[in-house]
């Protein structure tokens, strides 16, 4: 990864400046929750670790990073989904780690809205338009991708 790349993350359809530092959940709390820091939940840490650390007040967080140590490790999909749908978390969800092109659409659907993509092919593909599928057969999110129902089966969504 070049320095220039290290400076940008993908957000709302384009690459923007990376204006945060990732810190472990414990450090985030003990260091007094600095404004530039984003707590990073490891793949093996449950959502409760984060909730306990902020004493139940997720709304105090502007951003949360969830880790994908490998593209095949799908735990952070469920955590993103839980944060959005069961904890009504409204802040940013940042996907970090092994963010590859073919998982991007899934990440956006479960509620990620910022991708820290370092893989060159991912960055190229993200820069191209139209990489998301638009028809879905299950409810997910609430995500940054605005999905609508109104199809003939309740589980269908279009984006």
């Amino acid at each position: 990864m070049s320095d220039a790349q290290a400076m940008t993350v993908w957000k709302a359809g384009k690459f923007v400046e990376r204006d945060f530092d990732l810190v472990p959940v414990d450090d985030y709390v003990t260091s007094g929750r600095p404004a530039s820091a984003v707590p990073k939940l490891l793949a093996g840490e449950g959502v409760d670790v984060l909730i306990d650390a902020v004493e139940g007040d997720l709304s105090s967080l502007a951003a949360i990073a969830l880790d994908f140590p490998s593209f095949a490790d799908g735990r952070s999909y469920s955590k993103a989904q839980l944060l959005r749908s069961e904890h009504a978390y409204q802040g940013e969800l940042i996907a970090v780690g092994d963010v590859l092109p073919d998982q991007v659409a899934l990440m956006l659907r479960v509620g990620f809205d910022v991708l820290e993509a370092t893989h060159p092919v991912t960055r190229t593909r993200l820069a191209e338009a139209g990489h998301e599928t638009t028809l879905h057969t299950q409810i997910a999110g609430t995500s940054s991708v605005k999905e609508t129902s109104g199809e003939r089966f309740s589980w269908r969504r279009t984006a």
């Binding site: 799908g74 599928t133 003939r152």
Partner: protein, 555 residues
């Protein structure tokens, strides 16, 4: 059966287009085989021992003649003229060129078929009873629920990178023909106080650590199917082991967590989801059910009575009716099983010509309905007894009239060393040799029901753990060795077979199987006592004795 609407067509079409681009990028060298691998796997394309293999889903085993003809066309045009029906209601084409696979998927999409989720650590093709909607012992047709699960699980964003593959089976009948207790989730349809629902089993599976599914919920109201399934999958996705591929299935999570603790997690999550967006609206459930309405089956009682005379006049036909037909809920009709276990054939293989012939028979005599069974046979769920002779004659013509369903030569076998990159030993030749040894139909019928299942490696794709007689091929010091297990079963009385002793070399194996059968015949109290009944009554000891000699006296 379910029919695609515009949404479904567009959904599958988008996946085909995406895959076509991926193949182009691969062929142009823009992506490496390593980068391409997860992409092709998402579309059912495996790299096997000799070539690419394409696995196509036949959701819950249901298809019509148009789809069967398309499979025949694909076998003829893009493969070597045959296809292989698997133990999970899929069909595999063993020799397609990679460059043809996008076109194959495109042609499949034209007849509302796909290869999605036939691979990878996702929710796989949902399987069911091959006589669903027809069998006399059925409470209700499980297929509408399978279809809801199929749609909901397609490219599910949360559950596409699970610790390991995930298999769901649904049965709606008293006799479990879908092996629900050896699936990651097994759903047995139940009725309680007039409401329809499911008994939910979790953590069954075969492989190197066979486990019988445990009941996690005795009654789940049907409308909560997706909420409860989500709760199970979420617990598994978050907590299932990812450090060891062989300990990553949900059965290990159930085993290590304990069913009561896991039930607590699942129920807590279910409580949060219950009554929310995942609850199935009655209108949707009704709309899906409408697709599965049974065909109009007029009474044909006079012909049904005439069947006995037809059987008296034709011994071969009579044997076929006895073995290959079973009770339909309408007394004038039968469920027919077409054996893909011709003596000396590879279990589950069918030629393009046979697929076409079966499609024509289904169209003419079977209300255009076909099924694939997990036992690697084809079924015609609705055939009037008055048409059985015509069906039989048609099957004789295409070489598919073998009257051995449920008998010892109706063998489940994995592809084994002949095709599979994982195999340690041959499976198909073992199945062929056993079938030849018991080729005499009168002898096979005298032996009665035996489920013999063969796996060519410990991954157990041939379900040997749940065979009344199971054979597992292993590799030892460079040669194949075959372990025999006895007493397994995958129905409502599921059991895992017991290893009887040291393995046999290939050239001793068929004799050993014959010894097992001869021992059973000597031990059974009456003809009606099946192999499994006898085994459960007497245990392994007499069989061990017969195979390995008398146990040494303890001094």
């Amino acid at each position: 059966m379910y029919r695609y609407d515009e949404f479904d067509h567009a959904f599958v079409q988008a996946r085909v287009e995406e895959y076509s681009e991926q193949v182009e990028r691969r062929m142009a060298g823009h992506i490496t085989e390593d980068q391409f691998k997860p992409l092709r796997l998402m579309n059912g394309v495996y790299l096997q021992l000799h070539a690419y293999m394409l696995r196509v889903a036949i959701p819950y085993g249901t298809l019509d003649s148009r789809q069967m003809r398309k499979l025949a066309h694909i076998a003829r045009t893009y493969d070597k003229g045959y296809g292989h029906f698997t133990t999970r209601q899929n069909i595999q084409f063993n020799w397609p060129a990679l460059t043809d696979t996008p076109q194959i998927l495109k042609e499949l999409a034209e007849v509302e078929m796909h290869a999605l989720q036939t691979s990878g650590n996702c929710i796989r093709n949902v399987t069911s009873d091959h006589f669903a909607g027809a069998a006399a012992d059925e409470l209700t047709d499980p297929r509408p629920w399978c279809e809801i699960l199929r749609q909901w699980s397609s490219i599910h964003p949360e559950f596409t990178y699970l610790p390991r593959k995930f298999k769901i089976a649904v049965s709606g009948a008293a006799h479990d023909r879908a092996a629900v207790r050896v699936h990651d989730i097994g759903l047995q349809m139940r009725q309680q106080n007039g409401r329809l629902g499911f008994e939910v089993f979790v953590g069954g599976g075969l492989g190197r650590t066979p486990m019988i599914g445990k009941c996690v919920r005795e009654f789940l109201p049907a409308e909560d199917l997706l909420a409860y399934t989500t709760a199970i999958l979420r617990a598994y996705n978050l907590n299932g082991r990812r450090d060891n591929k062989y300990k990553a299935r949900i059965k290990i999570l159930v085993h290590e967590t304990g069913i009561d603790a896991l039930r607590g997690q699942i129920e807590a999550e279910f409580e949060r989801l219950r009554g929310g967006d995942l609850t199935l609206p009655a209108d949707d459930v009704e709309a899906i059910h409408a697709y599965f309405q049974a065909p109009d089956l007029p009474d044909r009682s006079e012909e049904a009575i005439a069947l006995l005379a037809q059987m008296d006049a034709d011994a071969a036909f009579a044997a076929w009716v006895r073995q290959n037909t079973s009770a339909h809920r309408h007394p004038d009709y039968s469920c027919v099983t077409i054996s893909l276990k011709g003596i000396g054939d590879a279990p589950g293989d069918a030629s393009a010509e046979q697929m076409d012939a079966v499609a024509a028979i289904a169209e003419r005599f079977g209300h255009d309905e076909l099924r694939i069974s997990h036992e690697q046979n084809i079924a015609l769920p609705h055939v009037a007894k008055g048409d059985l002779k015509s069906v039989f004659d048609g099957l004789v013509e295409c070489g598919l009239a073998t009257a051995n369903v449920g008998l010892i030569s109706d063998i489940i076998a994995c592809p084994g060393l002949d095709y599979c990159a994982l195999a340690n030993a041959r499976s198909i030749p073992v199945a062929q040799d056993i079938a030849r040894r018991f080729a005499d139909p009168a002898r096979a019928e005298e032996i009665g029901p035996v489920k013999l299942k063969i796996s060519g490696c410990i991954n157990a794709c041939g379900h040997h753990h749940v065979g009344h007689i199971g054979i597992l091929g292993v590799e030892k010091k460079g040669t194949e060795l075959f372990q025999i297990t006895l007493g397994g079963s995958a129905d409502e009385h599921t059991s895992i077979g017991e290893i009887v002793g040291r393995g046999f070399e290939y050239d001793q194996l068929i004799d050993a199987i014959e010894t097992v059968i001869d021992t059973y015949l000597e031990l059974r109290t009456e003809r009606a006592e099946t192999f499994l009944d006898t085994y459960r009554r007497v245990g392994a000891q007499p069989f061990k004795h017969a195979l390995y000699g008398a146990p040494k006296e303890v001094a």
